[in-house]
């Protein structure tokens, strides 16, 4: 297991795409937090400003994290390296578990680093503009817990689809379209029950979407219930994926 995990981390760290995607994520985060939410910000500011905006940044981080997760599995099938990976290991479960752990490790580092940059640059931007933030009730544990759950959930969903579909491009397109476009369209049909759709439930964890009484009123769940609903989808999805990974031909 240790060998498989070491190999997965090497796979992550020896391709350019990991650095490019991480770099873009950090740059966007830095620009938005310093310039838009910091230096140029002119909206209402209360004591919850940093908490709220730190969580609002999670969908941006998750977008890049999910692509890195998909690439970790998708490259195996795209470049046929899966046959090396599976013949070197004596257990397919070890291979899958080590991929999940590698993604968790990457997401942990990316989310914490991006959140730190986000918080620091928002603060710095306001200071530089000459209107320092008022006293903030920053709950770092809450931000990190909810943020990590959101990004980890998104990344693991991406890894799941890449493992299930075994087509890199299709998995990326799927993860870019389904959470926003498809679930938004389904909201028109399901109304407030749409909050029980997987990614709508996940968004409740960081409170980025909720009841707004408009045409896309998807209802509302507490962060805990949102996490439970999404978690249930993820567990069932991974059970099916895991069984198929053990039983399918490696191609």
């Amino acid at each position: 297991m240790k060998a498989a995990l070491k190999a997965e981390l090497r796979k992550l760290l020896t391709v350019r795409s990991t650095y490019i995607l991480t770099g873009i994520a950090v740059l966007i985060m830095a620009f938005v937090s310093f310039w838009i939410m910091g230096y140029k910000y002119s909206g209402h500011i209360d004591s919850n400003f940093l908490n709220y905006n730190a969580l609002q940044a999670m969908p941006v981080i998750s977008l890049f994290a999910v692509i890195v997760a998909i690439l970790l599995m998708g490259h195996e099938y795209r470049h046929n390296t899966i046959f090396y990976t599976l013949t070197a290991s004596n257990s397919r479960s070890k291979v899958l578990a080590s991929k999940i752990l590698a993604v968790l490790g990457y997401v942990l580092v990316l989310t914490i680093a991006a959140t730190a940059i986000n918080l620091l640059l928002m603060n710095y931007g306001h200071n530089l503009a000459g209107h320092p933030l008022p006293h903030q009730d920053l709950n770092l544990a809450d931000v990190i817990t909810k943020g990590l759950f959101y990004v980890v959930g998104f990344a693991l969903a991406g890894l799941l689809f890449a493992t299930l579909i075994r087509n890199l491009i299709f998995a990326i397109v799927f993860m870019l379209i389904v959470p926003n476009t498809v679930e938004s369209l389904l909201t028109l049909l399901l109304k407030h029950k749409a909050v029980y759709l997987p990614f709508s439930a996940l968004s409740q964890v960081i409170g980025t979407q909720g009841s707004n009484n408009g045409p896309l009123d998807m209802g509302h769940l507490s962060p805990g219930r949102g996490a439970a609903v999404f978690g249930a989808y993820l567990v069932v999805g991974w059970l099916i994926t895991w069984i198929l990974f053990l039983r399918r031909d490696a191609n």
Binding site: H79, F83, T87, D249, N251
Partner: protein, 306 residues
């Protein structure tokens, strides 16, 4: 010894099912090179994937009495080359092998050694995406050698290699087997196979055609002939008939099924026929395999009509 027992694979779709490998059993002995031959689409690659547990099918393959996944470090038991371009194009050759070394719990120092063995040390830092087919094959062979495995399973390793590379591969594989290891190798280059392999496994349309030592296969399935170019071929033909020798007419001579040139010379003298050429033609593996798999060819090309 590798013992492949009753390997089978059927692909099912909504419309039909196709048997790619049908109850194939054979052994790969230590200290020997076992060739694996058959026409395109015969099921060679699928058989190799079944042996390694990559495809899920029927039967089992024991490596020294145990299934591959029963070993804690499978890379020490078997090294495989199944796909030529099985690498990330921008991950350097060295990093590609380092990833594989980590997977097999093999020290990183081995990476430099195998790169040196296959002659890719100078391009170790380059991404293999721009490697030629031959260089890609060498990288694949390096990957197979990483764990210094007891067995090598190589699918068409000579494809894309230049003549020098083919000679290197032949000598390398023979040496590897001589050291007490087992090599199972498929190739379309049958003349190369004849020089390399001790035993041969022949399959066609997913079924085992034969498995035998290569010398036995040649003696049983292909004829050694003597080509004779001479005057008065009609008289010579009568003498050959009289001696009970079968022959076929060629453009400017006769091809007689025998290995004895002296006998043909004497018959020609008896017929009063002046001999211009008398050449012994040894049976080739190509002839033997073509003869054995003639009925088992899935994809046959048509002759171009003049």
């Amino acid at each position: 010894m590798i013992e492949a027992k009753h390997l089978g694979k059927t692909y099912k779709s909504l419309r039909d099912k196709k048997t790619a490998v049908d109850d194939i059993s054979f052994n790969v002995e230590l200290g020997k090179v076992t060739g694996f031959v058959g026409p395109n689409g015969a099921g060679k690659s699928t058989t190799m994937r079944l042996m390694l547990g990559l495809d899920i099918g029927e039967g089992k393959t024991n490596f020294d009495g145990k299934l591959l996944h029963q070993y804690s470090r499978p890379s020490k038991i078997v090294g495989a080359l199944l796909e030529v371009k099985a690498f990330h194009p921008t991950r350097s050759a060295r990093n590609h092998l380092k990833v594989l070394a980590a997977e097999g719990n093999i020290p990183d120092s081995r990476v430099a050694e195998v790169l040196d063995i296959v002659g890719l040390a100078d391009v170790a830092k380059k991404g293999p995406g721009k490697f030629s087919l031959g260089m890609s094959q060498r990288l694949g062979i390096a990957a197979a050698l990483l764990g210094s495995p007891k067995y090598l399973i190589l699918d068409e390793p000579a494809n894309g290699l230049d003549p020098e590379g083919i000679v290197w591969l032949r000598e390398f594989i023979r040496d590897y087997a001589k050291k007490g290891n087992g090599v199972f190798i498929s190739s379309h280059l049958l003349n190369e196979m004849a020089q390399m392999a001790d035993n041969v496994v022949v399959i066609g349309k997913g079924r085992l055609v034969t498995t035998a030592p290569i010398k036995e296969l040649l003696s049983k399935n292909a004829d050694t002939t003597v080509f004779v170019r001479a005057e008065n071929l009609a008289k010579l033909e009568k003498e050959l008939d009289g001696a009970g020798l079968s022959f076929t007419k060629e453009k400017d001579g006769l091809s007689v099924v025998t290995s004895k040139t002296d006998a043909i010379g004497k018959l020609a003298a008896k017929a009063g026929s002046t001999v211009f050429e008398l050449t012994k033609r040894s049976a080739s593996l190509e002839e033997a395999i073509l003869g054995l798999t003639e009925e088992a060819q899935e994809y046959k090309a048509k002759d171009l009509e003049q």
